[in-house]
């Protein structure tokens, strides 16, 4: 069992509030990813859970045990650091067995556990090397091995892949997913890379400025972001945001007049909106279709187009100067400066009120921001 419960957790450094009240439940076997922009407090939150920072207020419970003030080593957690933090003068084997030796586990048991971890991570032939004789990916695996041997209740990872090159990062990502499955472990993983978050997580926690913006499965966040921040953070390329005003709003739908021209009727529950209220209209690049200029009221000018093979990303400029990104087919042949029309898929578009909160779909439970 490994259920982590965090209640009203706060942390300040010298009177500056960094973590501003976090409530979070993490269930056994879950792969939870903390994601957010740099400096939002992801590492700090992880270090609070690990016990490397002292909590200012609030509580952390692991199962039914209050671990808020328990020493890091006694929390049944293991952490993999961004820089791996391997002990440079110890062999791989010694690196992995260090914790067990300190805990006074007997020699045969240590060897068994280290060999088992080495086998899982395919480190068998490297056990007698020092860390400096290893490649980045191998060091990463040793760092993971060091946490595996302790059989912790929860694994903590702080941006473990950010020091690897792109190809290795994809490979290690798959390996981590496999490892999570194999060990049936509970994992908390910090990253600023939303692709890692989307691909690995059972549950994504979007952090911003020291508080949680939204918690949910990757697809929930993608389809039902509760506010403009989450909508903009999840998905690449970014969701486009266009300014507009509410023309008419009721329980069954909202009509918005965009500043750049077109008027759209959205199937959203507009009972909280008033006519004339300024709103932000959001649509993802993949939910927009490009057509001829006269086939749509939404006319834009093509700026740069990027051909990626399977897709083409078109950066376009609306008549009032607002810019947005559109995804077109791989063989799209639009030219720089060309006038085109856009047709958004209204079922997948989002609307955010003045405070950035999402206007809910009809029938959806209202979510607090």
């Amino acid at each position: 069992m490994a259920d982590l419960t965090i209640r009203n957790l706060k942390k300040s450094f010298e009177d500056i509030d960094i973590i501003k009240g976090i409530d979070l439940d993490i269930k056994d076997h879950e792969f939870v990813v903390f994601v957010g922009p740099s400096g939002c407090g992801k590492s700090t939150l992880l270090r609070l859970i690990a016990g490397l920072e002292e909590v200012t207020s609030g509580s952390i419970h692991l199962d039914d045990r209050d671990i808020t003030d328990v020493a890091p080593a006694k929390r049944d957690l293991a952490m993999v650091f961004q820089t791996y933090a391997l002990y440079p003068h110890m062999t791989v084997r010694k690196n992995m067995s260090f914790a067990l030796e300190l805990a006074g586990v007997d020699k045969a048991e240590i060897d068994r556990k280290v060999d088992e971890a080495a086998q899982i991570l395919e480190l068998g032939h490297l056990l007698d090397r020092k860390p400096k004789a290893l490649s980045g990916g191998q060091r990463q695996r040793v760092a993971i091995g060091r946490s595996i041997v302790r059989h912790p209740k929860i694994f903590l990872f702080d941006e473990p892949l950010s020091n690897l090159d792109a190809a290795l990062r994809v490979q290690m990502r798959l390996e981590l997913a496999r490892l999570h499955h194999e060990l049936k472990a509970t994992m908390i993983y910090v990253t600023h890379d939303q692709v890692e978050a989307m691909t690995l997580a059972d549950k994504v926690v979007v952090l911003n400025g020291g508080h949680i913006e939204q918690v949910g499965s990757p697809l929930e966040l993608y389809h039902h972001p509760v506010n403009a921040f989450v909508a903009g953070f999840i998905g690449t390329p970014k969701m486009a945001f266009l300014k507009g005003k509410v023309k008419k709003a009721d329980r069954a739908g909202v009509t918005v007049q965009l500043d750049c021209g077109p008027e759209y009727q959205l199937p959203l529950d507009g009972s909280r909106l008033k006519a004339g209220e300024p709103v932000t209209f959001g649509m993802r690049p993949e939910h927009i279709e490009v057509t001829a200029a006269d086939a749509s009221p939404f006319k834009v000018t093509l700026d740069v187009t990027e051909h990626l093979g399977a897709d083409t990303f078109c950066y376009v400029k609306a008549q009032n100067g607002e810019t947005l990104t559109v995804r077109a087919g791989g063989d799209y042949g639009g030219r720089f400066g060309e006038q085109v029309g856009l047709i958004p898929d209204l079922a997948h578009c989002h609307l955010f009120d003045e405070k950035g909160r999402a206007v809910p779909k009809p029938g959806a439970p209202a979510q607090a921001a």
Binding site: K74, M79, H89, F98, A99, L102
Partner: protein, 314 residues
């Protein structure tokens, strides 16, 4: 000049096979030799001339009190130097002085460096104060120790002893070598602190945190993380200090003058007293060469023991 030769030479070389690569390397090493030769030559002259003169002096009778009697005496000077009553004392005292000071400066240096690594109020000033003894002239610090601190009548230590009702100790009479070791350590601990303190700053904090998560307490972290991290700078401290401590002179000269008896005479001081107190240049030269041999043996042992530590890449 030589660099341009290389650059001119390179395009002329055909497609680089293993042979041409070898030739290229040979050319490079020859050019390298050529460029360093002036400085090597200057160094050789710088070393060889005095060495040759010393060897020559050590083989003749050369006493300033008996000018003109400079006949060749073979190894007689060496024989007299090595069998002189002072030599055994000098060698043992040198060993003691170097060994004890090294031990003190490494142990104290590590402890102080680790202590001042944790942040506290006024750490910057404390660090500067800790290092400052190193910048005081040896003669000055020896005089301060002799007259202000260890003096049996007017010294600070005597005052402390008196305060507790004890009889003040006449350090230079009762514990002369220990007193010298104390003074020399006071000068060289700061050097160790300086080196080890900077080394502490390059210790990865995440390593310590990883160790904490692995269940290591402060002592285990010190043994398993900090100390291994410091082996290299400790090796540097030992090597550099050994070289300087072998030739400690000013501290002895200003305090005990090698006495009482031979109790604080080290090899450097013995040579000085041969040459300038007994005016025997021949024997002093022989002593100097013996000291050079000893220093080389020490250097050889040190490099065998810890040199590997330094050349190994991080």
């Amino acid at each position: 000049m030589s660099i341009s030769t290389v650059q001119d030479g390179v395009p002329a070389v055909p497609a680089p096979g293993p042979e041409t690569v070898k030739a290229d390397k040979r050319l490079h090493s020859r050019v390298g030799l050529l460029t360093v030769s002036p400085s090597v030559l200057a160094l050789l002259v710088w070393m060889i001339v005095p060495l040759a003169m010393t060897i020559y002096f050590s083989l003749i009778r050369y006493n300033l009190l008996y000018p003109g009697e400079n006949e060749f005496v073979g190894l007689e000077n060496y024989y007299f130097f090595l069998t002189d009553e002072g030599f055994v004392h000098g060698a043992l005292n040198t060993l003691w002085l170097v060994g004890a000071t090294l031990l003190i400066s490494v142990v104290a240096g590590v402890l102080i460096a680790v202590l001042v690594d944790t942040p506290f109020w006024g750490r910057g000033i404390v660090r500067v104060l800790l290092i400052s003894p190193f910048f005081i002239m040896p003669t000055v610090s020896a005089l301060v120790w002799k007259n202000l601190l260890l003096h049996p009548v007017s010294g600070v230590f005597a005052a402390v002893w008196n305060f507790f009702g004890a009889t003040p100790v006449d350090w230079f009479a009762e514990y002369p070598l220990q007193a010298i070791i104390l003074i020399v350590s006071w000068q060289w601990v700061p050097f160790a602190v300086l080196l080890l303190m900077t080394a502490m700053q390059s210790l990865d904090q995440e390593q310590k945190e990883a160790a904490r998560l692995d269940g290591a307490g402060p002592i285990a972290i010190f043994w398993h993380i900090t100390l291994p991290h410091l082996t290299r700078p400790i090796a540097v401290v030992v090597m550099i200090e050994t070289i300087f401590l072998l030739s400690i002179f000013a501290e002895i000269f200003t305090t005990t003058g090698g006495g009482p008896g031979y109790e604080t005479t080290n090899l450097a001081y013995l040579i000085y007293s041969q040459a300038l107190l007994q005016f025997d240049v021949g024997m002093a030269s022989a002593g100097g060469l013996v000291a050079v041999v000893i220093a080389n043996i020490a250097a050889f042992i040190l490099i065998r023991m810890i040199g590997k530590n330094l050349t190994e890449k991080a």
